[in-house]
């Protein structure tokens, strides 16, 4: 997926948070991480879940990337993380923390 720079909401310094209307949690019965919202549930694959786990309303995108690189040494993941942020934003799973 290609996301043009002009449509970008998230830069390295943006601090994302989980949208107040969504819940991100581990579901034992599904054996995966999910996002819960009023009409249902989205099951996440493990790489999306690894990013979501680090979205805590404190860390910036750059810090999330750095943290992921520490957990997965050698992985080229900058573009994937930025792309995920935009998609997750569009789906209203996350938002930039207000007041930045």
């Amino acid at each position: 997926m290609e996301i043009k720079a002009t449509t970008r909401v998230y830069s390295a310094a943006t601090v994302p948070q989980i949208a107040p209307t969504k819940r991100f949690q581990w579901e034992e019965a599904q054996n995966c991480w999910v996002i819960l919202y009023p009409e249902g549930m989205i099951k996440l694959n493990s790489s999306s879940a690894e990013i979501m786990k680090r979205i805590d309303g404190r860390r910036s995108v750059a810090e999330i990337i750095a943290d992921l690189k520490q957990a997965y040494p050698g992985a080229e993941l900058d573009n994937d993380v930025y792309a995920f942020m935009e998609v997750a934003h569009e789906q209203q799973w996350i938002r930039p923390k207000p007041g930045q």
Partner: protein, 391 residues
């Protein structure tokens, strides 16, 4: 393997738990889906019973919890039930008319961990809203909708559409915009319970639908990215049935106020089923083992035309309750389907409704508002809900 053709370990887990906390409600909507005889069903579950139900259902994998009724705000232990649900990891939805709510309670719900409140409106104008609800509730609802927003809940407004208000669909959507709703559900009345009793008064006409649909789509287009609008055509006007509850005992579990466990909230009226009660059985047994939850699982129970129909894996033959109410046999195809041998029962109602609306024919009976008095009177007049056609 049981004779219904189901293999226990292939049964899905219940993902949705609908907790009907009470049948009590200060409103009197004539389209209410509660059973006609609700006033005779006493013996509500205790707080502890509900907590156990939540624990057991959660353990089986239920993730979404709907708290409804009746009016769930009538339960004074609602805050406690919400807190338990939150602690167990449910995504908790409160489905309410807003009557009985105030800022103190909204705040308490937030603190208890409630995720989402859905406020239902009867119509857009005060006069009609109050007429339909049988009370003076409109102004209060507007206040409550504003508070929902203030406490950062996703605002889901639900308008139940029927013949008496569908012509105001544009006003309804303008009101939703004014209230800054995130989601609007233009829910079409489902003809169960009271709505079935009042069907000839509530079913929109063909002409009304033809007018309403383009307006709904126009607003969907206009509000793209700002407000999501769900609009569904009443199933009577379809030629294929809805995949009711995603299949019997597939993902939905309803617990009625008295603890009766149901695969859908209308199933209580089906004859020949005893439906287990959470007072006597575990959720695990009810879901996986009870004969009633297995009765319409799989495809073995089907009759023709469903049995040999290639579409049965998509719609599961439609709604068992609708099949029963209209044809007298819950194992028949949902008569909404134009392959059903009983489809004429649907088209006849649509034609009759057209004549009634045009004042060419009188409605068979006056509209009946839902309240304990009418409930008892109707229940006494017909002890069991009789199907339209004898079995």
């Amino acid at each position: 393997m049981s004779n219904s053709g189901y293999v226990p370990n292939l049964v899905n887990k219940p993902l949705w738990l609908l907790a009907e906390l009470t049948y009590a409600c200060p409103l009197q909507c004539p389209y209410c889906s509660n059973p006609i005889e609700f006033a005779k069903i006493k013996n509500e579950l205790s707080t502890e019973d509900w907590k156990r139900v939540l624990r057991e259902a959660r353990k089986m994998g239920a993730a979404q919890l709907g708290l409804s009724g009746g009016e769930p705000l009538v339960r004074q232990d609602l805050e406690e039930i919400i807190a338990e649900a939150r602690q167990l990891g449910f995504y908790t939805n409160l489905i309410t008319s807003g009557v009985g709510m105030d800022e103190k309670r909204i705040k308490a719900f937030r603190d208890a961990g409630l995720d989402h409140i859905q406020v239902s409106f009867q119509a857009s104008s005060e006069e009609l809203n109050n007429y339909i609800a049988g009370t003076d509730a409109f102004r209060h609802k507007i206040e409550m909708a504003k508070l929902v927003k203030k406490y950062e809940y996703p605002m889901v407004l639900c308008f139940v559409l029927h013949r008496q208000n569908i012509d105001q669909i544009g006003d309804v959507l303008e009101l939703a915009i004014k209230l800054d709703a995130d989601y609007v559900e233009l829910a079409t009345t489902q003809y169960y319970g009271w709505a079935y009793h009042n069907r000839e008064q509530l079913l929109p006409t063909r002409e009304q639908l033809a007018r309403a649909e383009p307006i709904a789509h126009q607003y969907q287009e206009k509000m793209k990215g700002k407000m999501r609008i769900f609009y569904v055509v009443p199933d009577y006007y379809e030629v294929r049935p809805k995949a009711c509850m995603n299949g019997w005992g597939a993902v939905f579990l309803t617990i009625a106020p008295d603890g009766t466990a149901l695969p859908c909230h209308a199933a209580r009226q089906l004859p020949g089923l005893e439906f287990p009660n959470v007072r006597n059985h575990s959720i695990e047994w009810i879901w996986s083992q009870s004969p009633d939850f297995n009765k319409f699982r799989g495809f073995e129970w089907m009759k023709e035309p469903c049995r040999s129909c290639p579409e049965k894996t998509r719609d599961f033959g439609g709604c068992r309750c609708q099949a029963y109410m209209l044809t007298g046999d819950a194992a028949n195809a949902d008569p909404v389907c134009d392959k059903s041998y009983h489809h004429h029962l649907i088209t006849e109602v649509i034609d009759r409704v057209g004549r009634i609306a045009a004042k060419k024919e009188d409605a068979p009976k006056p509209i009946v508002f839902r309240n304990p008095r009418t409930s008892k009177a109707l229940a006494d007049a017909r002890p069991a809900v009789k199907p339209a056609v004898p079995a």
